[in-house]
Subunit: 243 residues, 2 copies
């Protein structure tokens, strides 16, 4: 699995704010990406970048600084350019999920490396930079305001790429559910109690109300212990109406 | 559609860095979310928050500052707590996609509002805060280093929620593909040229090589104009080998 992530490199081109480089390193490491390439970063290295990287300073200190985008793309089999907006149809365009699918396919074949490139803060990638890309990845978003911070764009890509290549397992409850007999006994007890407190009446017919209550309890999928708690409560109901 | 987004509120609890509030506003607006609630924000309002909000200062200036989490949750039908890690199984846990699915279901029923809450920077949500949540949303990520910035966590959620509720349409090429006749004429012309330059030989048998070339061109799905470009090239090949 780490094999997948280690074949993806993130390339930041002409980044002007060192803080964004640090934030990008942190975004990457959180999503198991380690290989950061920096093409002509402005004011880098920088204490601001290191501060924003938080615990991801290893990604930052291993970052490769390049003088040209071509240098950063050496040995790469698939180049994907990130773009805030749709461009001319001459590029093959897809959303982030589509790009992650292409990355996965490319990496499957004999550890072929992939680069995802992100342009400068104000204007993104130039057409000349996009000419080096096989795929243009568009991050979906608000069409009336789309001004994603470059580290946020990297975060979105890194998250989607992580999710695309992993499955998350949640610890399941090991508590035993109440079985059929226990539930039927519970409903019988419940009906007895409701009769006892004189809840049912013409306006609240027993059959209808019991069906609604069954519907409610069924949806909650009661556990054995929970049924026992309810039955304990029932046993404590005092015949207050009769007193 | 905006209806969907307008019923989701993002709640930041005890945020200590005003910059993160600004970054969160920007992350939200990029993904069509507008309703930000701030419970006891430290050092807010702040010029740093406004700077980081970039063009999303409307989200920031409309943000509701509350003195307690309960106040921020008034009128809400579903409360989701964001967590970096899995917690005790007593909470219903799911990933971001799962949470977005629950949000969509809740919102569909008569504009019921939903809150997604994010805890303080260092330690996230407390157990007492999580007790107010019906669902615990875990953002998937690197198990060896998971230290997502709170604004990055909001970015990931906002992106996933946007993508979950929208479809993106890419402009399709309107260029006409080459049809069967044009392609067959092209292959015939190609074979003629290859014979003319004496490319085929025992080691490079015509049938095999033409099949591989067909496979390649088929994959690229040539357009009419592209086939015309190739045939123009063929017509210009000089019999240099014969000279």
């Amino acid at each position: 699995m780490d094999y997948t992530f280690d074949n993806v490199r993130v390339v930041m081109v002409n980044t002007t704010e060192p803080g964004n480089i640090g934030a990008a390193a942190r975004a990457m490491k959180n999503m198991s990406l380690s290989y950061l390439y920096l093409v002509n970063p402005k004011g880098y290295p920088s204490a601001i970048a290191t501060a924003r990287a938080s615990g991801a300073d290893d990604v930052l200190s291993n970052a490769v600084v390049c003088e040209s985008l071509k240098e950063a793309l050496q040995g790469v089999y698939l180049v994907i350019g990130a773009s805030a907006r749709q461009r001319n149809i001459k590029w093959r365009q897809m959303d982030v999920v589509g790009a992650c699918s292409e990355i996965q396919k490319t990496i499957m074949a004999e550890s072929q490396k992939v680069a995802v490139i992100f342009g400068t803060e104000r204007t993104g990638l130039t057409n000349e930079e996009l000419d080096l890309c096989q795929i243009l990845m568009t991050i979906p978003g608000n069409s009336h305001y789309f001004s994603l911070n470059v580290a946020s764009a990297i975060q979105v890509f890194a998250y989607q790429n992580y999710v695309y290549n992993t499955t998350i397992e949640f610890k399941k409850s090991t508590n035993k559910l109440a079985n059929f007999d226990e539930l039927e006994n519970f409903y019988a007890h419940l009906a007895q109690v409701l009769e006892y407190i004189e809840y049912f009446e013409d306006k609240r017919p027993k059959a209808l109300l019991m069906r609604r209550l069954r519907r409610f309890f069924t949806r909650a999928m009661p556990e054995k212990e929970e049924v026992a708690i309810f039955r304990g409560i029932f046993r404590n109901i005092k015949p207050f109406k009769k007193l």
